[in-house]
């Protein structure tokens, strides 16, 4: 750390930091805090707990698939009607809420909310977000959202809740009478969804403004770490796509409550209610929903891509291979992401000519993903790899993203998708992307930035055990799903073995459930490691990894206002093992460290 010589206390520095130091109460400091770091950590802990909730729901789903109609432990006792046997509508609620919790309360907020909040100001050298109060609100809007989801668990009676899948296709979701017990529950669910949307929207406006306006001197766009690029692009995606979902959600709520018929055609009788008056079209919902939810897939992935690029580069002590192609491919994913939503609807009965258009655009969106994968491998290539838990999780990210990406090609091809649509193949695909890629990226990110959050290191040995168990459990759970999909097992079946052609798949499902239990149990290691390390972890300095980013020049943890020395950026973020660094006898060089006299600026500038 020879080059880092900041003063230990920031009190004497620039006026812009002064506001961070007047005394504020505990509540303002740690609960209703406007400090982006506190908000980020709040997001992180909340979402990690939600991860466990979502995981428990998934285990309940897996229980039913492995031991259909057997008494379900605990959950069965609480919710089941008779004995411990769960009812089919309870199963429907289980997978609906599993997806909703995981997507809206875990993946999206953990990436944008937790890491976006914590990292953006630190990595661009700002003292906080552009709109700190808005930022605080974006976190506190998560709570009503969670409350709404929570209410939706019980609003429909004991055994039923929102039972329309997270996609909530009408008419099932539009007609209260169509899905048992989903009356008030589904409405609460939709309100919760809207609140999550509000939260995300506040975040994304903030991120865009912050990244555009508040970069430190010298932090040009192409000196930004890929994490920042990914957050920036994600924020743009969110800002443009989310209003569509919010509007659609509102339309669905009014369909349910006020008798509008946006999505309801005429003359439908369900459960002996009055025939619908109609005039609407259920496909409209699918278009609107996927117009958001397809970009949302990238919202759930891009930040992890950016973070992994950062971490891989650091752990391999090597610049990111193809920085600009990485940026451009992310931009391409975001751009193309808006014109591929129809690939969720190949079998929906929309105009078949659209199938061809969407197939082509979907195939094209595979390209930037491929480029990124090749570049990650290029980054590892001939690096000086540190085989710690961060690196292992990043490598797993790449390895599993390849599987998730490749399995997507099957479903991008319309004719093949005719067969695979809504089978377990798609379940395998998106779990490889969302769990295999995103969550492993998140695991890596938690361990990588933990020292910056708390000034201590997480236990690497425990983290490695967690990694191995999760990796094995994850593959054991999700890889066989490809085969189930090929065998034609439709998703969302409470009892697939009712169909003779699926009967023989039971042992495989039991194997998957055991894997899932291992995987779920392993997450207690993560939680334990996380919380115990906050108290007992090995203390560390500003830059335990020897990384280059601006955040590593701030104290660990950074005080209110972040930097004790206002950072100035002199070079790109990935100058590991550069000649410049070597000249200093180290394999990294902080973005803030000024070029030594005599070295011309051009050598350190990013090409």
């Amino acid at each position: 750390m020879a080059t880092v010589s900041p003063a230990l206390h920031g009190h004497d520095h620039a006026d812009s930091h002064a506001h961070g130091h007047h005394d504020i109460g505990f509540i303002r400091k740690y609960v209703f805090s406007t400090d982006h770091k506190v908000i980020g950590i709040q997001f992180l802990i909340t979402t990690m707990l939600m991860l466990m909730v979502g995981g428990a729901l998934a285990l309940a789903v897996r229980w039913q698939l492995a031991f259909p109609w057997e008494n379900m432990p605990i959950l069965g006792k609480i919710f089941a009607g008779e004995g411990g046997q769960i009812s089919p509508e309870f199963y429907t609620m289980l997978f609906t809420m599993h997806a909703s919790v995981m997507i809206f309360l875990v993946i999206i907020p953990i990436l944008a909310g937790a890491f976006g909040n914590f990292l953006i100001p630190l990595q661009i050298g700002a003292d906080d977000m552009a709109f700190p109060v808005l930022n605080m609100l974006s976190y506190w809007f998560m709570w009503p959202a969670m409350a709404c989801f929570g209410i939706s668990f019980v609003a429909g009676g004991v055994t039923a809740g929102p039972a329309n899948g997270w996609t909530s296709y009408p008419l099932l979701s539009a007609l209260v009478q169509a899905a048992p017990g989903s009356g008030a529950a589904q409405t609460w669910w939709l309100i919760g969804l809207t609140l999550v949307g509000v939260s995300s929207m506040m975040g994304s406006v903030n991120y865009m403004t912050t990244i555009i306006n508040m970069r430190a001197p010298g932090m040009t766009l192409f000196r930004m770490p890929l994490t920042i690029w990914s957050m920036f692009i994600t924020a743009i995606l969110q800002a443009f796509a989310l209003p569509v979902l919010t509007a659609a959600g509102f339309m669905l709520v009014t369909d349910r409550l006020l008798g509008t018929v946006f999505f309801i055609p005429a003359g439908i009788i369900v459960n002996n209610a009055e025939p619908t008056v109609g005039g609407g079209q259920p496909l409209l919902w699918q278009h609107l929903f996927w117009f958001y939810s397809h970009p949302a897939v990238y919202i759930m992935l891009l930040p992890a891509m950016g973070m992994v690029s950062d971490m891989l580069s650091c752990m391999c002590r090597k610049p990111v291979f193809g920085y600009k192609p990485m940026v451009y491919s992310m931009a391409a994913i975001a751009g193309l992401g808006f014109i591929v939503w129809g690939h969720h609807m190949f079998t929906s009965g929309m105009n078949p000519a659209l199938g061809m258009t969407f197939m082509t655009s979907t195939m094209m969106i595979a390209l930037p993903s491929a480029i990124k994968t090749f570049n990650w491998i290029g980054t590892i290539w001939d690096g000086n790899v540190k085989f710690n838990a961060v690196m292992l999780n990043c490598a797993a990210f790449v390895a599993l993203f390849i599987v998730g990406g490749l399995s997507g090609i099957f479903m991008a091809a319309v004719p093949v998708d005719i067969y695979f649509h809504d089978t377990y193949f798609i379940v395998a695909h998106f779990h490889y992307v969302l769990f295999g890629a995103t969550l492993f990226g998140v695991f890596a990110g938690i361990q990588f930035w933990f020292p910056k959050m708390f000034g201590r290191l997480m236990n690497d040995r425990v983290a490695k055990v967690h990694f191995v168990l999760t990796f094995i459990g994850m593959n054991g759970t999700f890889f066989p799903m490809h085969l189930l999909g090929i065998a034609g097992m439709p998703r969302r079946y409470a009892d697939p073995y009712l169909h003779p052609y699926l009967e023989h798949l039971l042992p495989m499902n039991q194997l998957m459930t055991i894997s899932a239990i291992i995987m779920g149990a392993a997450q207690f290691l993560l939680l334990g490691n996380f919380f115990l390390s906050i108290l007992f972890g090995e203390k560390c300095g500003r830059n335990p990894w020897g990384a280059n980013g601006l955040e590593w020049s701030a104290p660990s943890p950074p005080g209110h206002g972040n930097f004790d020395v206002p950072p100035v950026c002199y070079r790109g973020p990935y100058e590991y093992s550069s000649p410049e660094a070597e000249a200093m006898n180290q394999d990294f060089i902080l973005q803030t460290s000024p070029p030594p006299a005599g070295v011309s600026k051009s050598t350190s500038a990013h090409h």
Binding site: A178, M363, A366
Partner: protein, 268 residues
């Protein structure tokens, strides 16, 4: 330990590939052969993609494993390769996959067009009209045939024939059915035929297929339709033209059953 981790990343794709390799013989594969010509073509497209994907999978995992192995095997303290990338490599791995992807997309258009674009449907299906209406409802498939000798109309007629969960079609020629739903969205999925189509409220969607061999084929629902989604078990019975006609006549007799038992006449 470093090498262990590198091997770890070598090892698991091999396990994955092994499972894929033994899957067909372990009965973890398609539910029997594709029983419709369209299904055969869909399956061959699947295998085309499978081979491409398998090559890419092996290539990239091997490269990843090798990259890890290489750095695990290197001497302590040896410096990393300082490189910001390679323009020509970027070009290669942009253009080559682009070609492959465009090829896959273009190669698949025909099958899709024939399956869904009505002007590409076999002429006979357009002349004949639909042989039956398959109407999904929570949680069964209601079937409506026109009376023998008549064409199916979109709306029910008084002499239509009704049955449930068992769709009879003739073999050996393309037949078209009208797919619709009486309540929420469902999807018609026949795993053996490899065909699927959603049934959307308010729409009548014509679906055609051809079954060369007589036999029974599953119909299941592939779009979440409520708590009993998994219960929607039905079958297609494909039979010779004569047997099919006989079936419709039988159905007509059964449907006109008036329960009258004269001494000389034995109904049923």
């Amino acid at each position: 330990m470093k090498k262990f981790w590198a091997l770890f990343f070598y090892f698991w794709p091999i396990v994955a590939l092994y499972f894929c390799w033994i899957a067909p013989e372990s009965n973890w594969w398609f539910p029997g052969e594709a029983m419709s010509p369209m299904g055969v073509r869909i399956e061959s497209l699947f295998y085309l993609i499978l081979w491409i994907v398998a090559i890419v999978f092996i290539g990239t995992q091997a490269a990843l494993g090798y990259a890890l192995w290489k750095s695990a095997a290197r001497d302590e303290g040896q410096k990393a390769w300082y490189s910001h990338g390679s323009h020509s490599l970027e070009l290669i791995w942009t253009i080559v996959p682009a070609f492959v992807l465009v090829f896959i997309a273009l190669y698949q258009m025909d099958v899709w067009a024939e399956y869904r674009v009505q002007s590409f449907y076999p002429d006979s299906t357009r002349e004949e009209g639909s042989v039956a209406e398959l109407a999904a409802r929570q949680f069964e498939w209601r079937i409506r045939y026109p009376a023998p000798g008549k064409k199916l109309s979109d709306e029910p007629e008084s002499d239509d024939l009704y049955w449930v969960n068992e769709l009879h079609v003739p073999t050996g020629r393309p037949v078209k059915i009208n797919l619709r739903t009486q309540d929420v969205q469902h999807a018609f999925f026949s795993p053996q035929l490899r065909l699927k189509q959603d049934a959307v409220p308010g729409l009548i969607i014509p679906v055609w297929f051809e079954i060369p061999e007589a036999g029974e084929y599953d119909i299941v629902c592939a779009e979440l339709c409520g708590w009993g989604h998994y219960k929607m078990r039905a079958k297609i019975v494909a039979e010779s033209e004569a047997a099919y006609k006989a079936y419709l006549n039988r159905l007509q007799d059964e449907q006109n059953e008036d329960g009258y038992k004269a001494a000389e006449e034995e109904t049923n």
